[in-house]
């Protein structure tokens, strides 16, 4: 079961709408596939990012993977905790392990992303 209130991408990012901004992270499925996360390259605060551009690089013991921006906008905050404890993403992918907040021109853009149900179906199809 994935959290019902979030939106998702096929690249296994999630988006939570909070105070009109988008909070971004990676899903439980993504962290489980990566294994122990050892390093997170956070995006720069106050930079503009376009949807599908590389937002962050997450390294695990075995490999490095890109996180893509699910929406376009300006990075307003990054989760500095991940510099010290990148494993928070393994432990708490949907809450403490968030990566950054994005201010978008039009927050209703999140409705173009996958719903929890659609994401679950997508996961099942790609098992």
């Amino acid at each position: 079961m994935v959290p019902q209130e979030l939106k998702y991408t096929k690249e296994h990012e999630w988006v939570r709408v909070e105070n009109g901004e988008a909070v971004i992270g990676i899903t439980d499925h993504a962290q489980s596939e990566l294994g122990d996360i050892t390093f997170v390259e956070l995006p720069q605060k106050d930079t503009e990012i376009k949807k599908t551009e590389a937002l962050s690089t997450i390294e695990s013991v075995k490999a490095a993977s890109e996180v893509y921006a699910p929406l376009s906008g300006k990075i307003t905050e990054v989760n500095e905790m991940l510099n010290e404890k990148p494993e928070i993403i393994n432990e708490s992918p949907y809450t403490k392990g968030w990566i950054c907040r994005i201010h978008t021109a039009d927050i209703s853009e999140v409705n173009t992303l996958l719903s929890a149900t659609d994401y679950e179906i997508y996961l099942k199809e790609n098992e």
Binding site: D36, E59, S60, V61, K62
Partner: protein
């Protein structure tokens, strides 16, 4: 990973791995557990307690007969003639150009019987090479399919082996020595060897008992199953080479800084090429590296100094003990000096690091 999921071989412990919820991956044609819970937890458990590894995929060859010793002496780089019975020795099988066909461990069972433990991915190649160079095919046997291999590694491994087999069984067993243990009618070859840098043992026995003996070890609270992921990070902290990544047919043991496993006072295949290499020199040599941060360089990253490419990363990963990126690289000799600062890069990511002598974990 380019290997296909189908047609992969399974070890006799495949069902155990599935029951334990292991993540399975293709490795050298085998479907192997890469991790059970977490590579980092499994790594730390092996360094602090004891880990159990399914190594049934590796190969076991036997050379027997009155000519076994002298013919083996020509096939491998380590000295055979002075080995007492019950001794193991690490060495290489080389081609005529001095390149490494495989790295292996020789076990002297008796004056007329030797066992070779070889890498999983090189079994067929090694077999062909040996068969084409020995005087009689009858003296060679490949028992890889019939023999199970389990490794128990970590500071508590002697206590655990004693508990499972018999009190005191490990007491007189020195590093790089082996003995036979009778365990409820099963003949087990117990050697004090390993690939982790910890106190540890490797067990060889008939594959039909693999599940029983696995269960005897895994039921101990101090023992956890360890996947190939942690096996790789454990060996990398020690600077041990992995065949196919750090050493291969295009490079000699000298280029891997492994001269001490080559006995130059005897005749062996590849020696002439090594002599030439000693005389004319060679450009690059294998060294360790430690990154400045948790960020890792991976295999095939370039090693750069002063804007020039001076080498290539051959193995790279995260070190759970040092909490930094670590690995091995092949670098030009003039830069192969302790603490030389370098940049490791794939063109997108630049990772600052220092060249280090191995072991990386002291």
């Amino acid at each position: 990973m380019s290997e296909k999921k189908y047609n992969l071989k399974k070890t006799p412990l495949y069902n155990k791995h599935i029951e334990l919820g292991a993540k399975m991956v293709p490795f050298s044609g085998w479907n192997m557990p890469v991790q059970y819970t977490s590579i980092i937890d499994e790594h730390i458990h092996t360094r602090t307690k004891a880990g159990l590894f399914d190594i049934c995929h590796m190969g076991e060859f036997f050379l027997k007969g009155p000519h076994a010793e002298e013919e083996l002496e020509r096939l491998v780089t380590c000295r055979i003639s002075d080995m007492p019975e019950g001794k193991c020795r690490y060495g290489f099988m080389l081609n005529e150009k001095g390149g490494i066909i495989d790295d292996l461990i020789v076990f002297k069972i008796s004056s007329e019987e030797f066992k070779l433990v070889v890498n999983a991915g090189t079994i067929e190649k090694d077999k062909k090479w040996i068969m084409s160079r020995i005087s009689s095919k009858d003296m060679f046997a490949d028992e890889s399919e019939k023999i199970a291999k389990l490794d128990i590694q970590g500071p508590l491994s002697d206590v655990i082996v004693d508990n499972v087999f018999k009190n005191g069984v490990t007491q007189d067993l020195k590093r790089y020595h082996f003995k036979y243990v009778d365990f409820a009618g099963v003949k087990v070859l117990l050697s004090r060897t390993g690939y982790t840098g910890e106190l540890g043992y490797e067990l060889f026995f008939s594959a039909s008992f693999a599940e029983n003996i696995w269960d005897m070890f895994i039921k101990s609270d101090e023992v956890k199953p360890i996947g190939l992921g942690a096996r790789d990070t454990l060996r990398m902290e020690m600077g041990y080479s992995l065949y196919g990544s750090d050493i291969d047919e295009n490079h000699s043991p000298f280029e891997a800084n492994l001269d001490k496993f080559v006995f130059m006072e005897k005749c062996f295949i590849g020696k002439d090429a090594l002599l030439k290499q000693s005389e004319y020199g060679f450009s690059r040599v294998l060294k360790g590296f430690v990154c400045e941060t948790r960020r890792c360089a991976r295999s095939h990253f370039n090693v750069v100094s002063g804007g020039n490419v001076i080498g290539e990363v051959t193995s790279g990963s995260f070190s759970p003990c040092l909490k930094k990126g670590i690995g091995l690289c092949r670098v030009e000799k003039t830069f192969a000096v302790q603490d030389t600062p370098v940049i490791l890069t794939d063109g997108k990511i630049d990772v600052p690091a220092k060249i280090k002598d191995v072991p990386l974990l002291k």
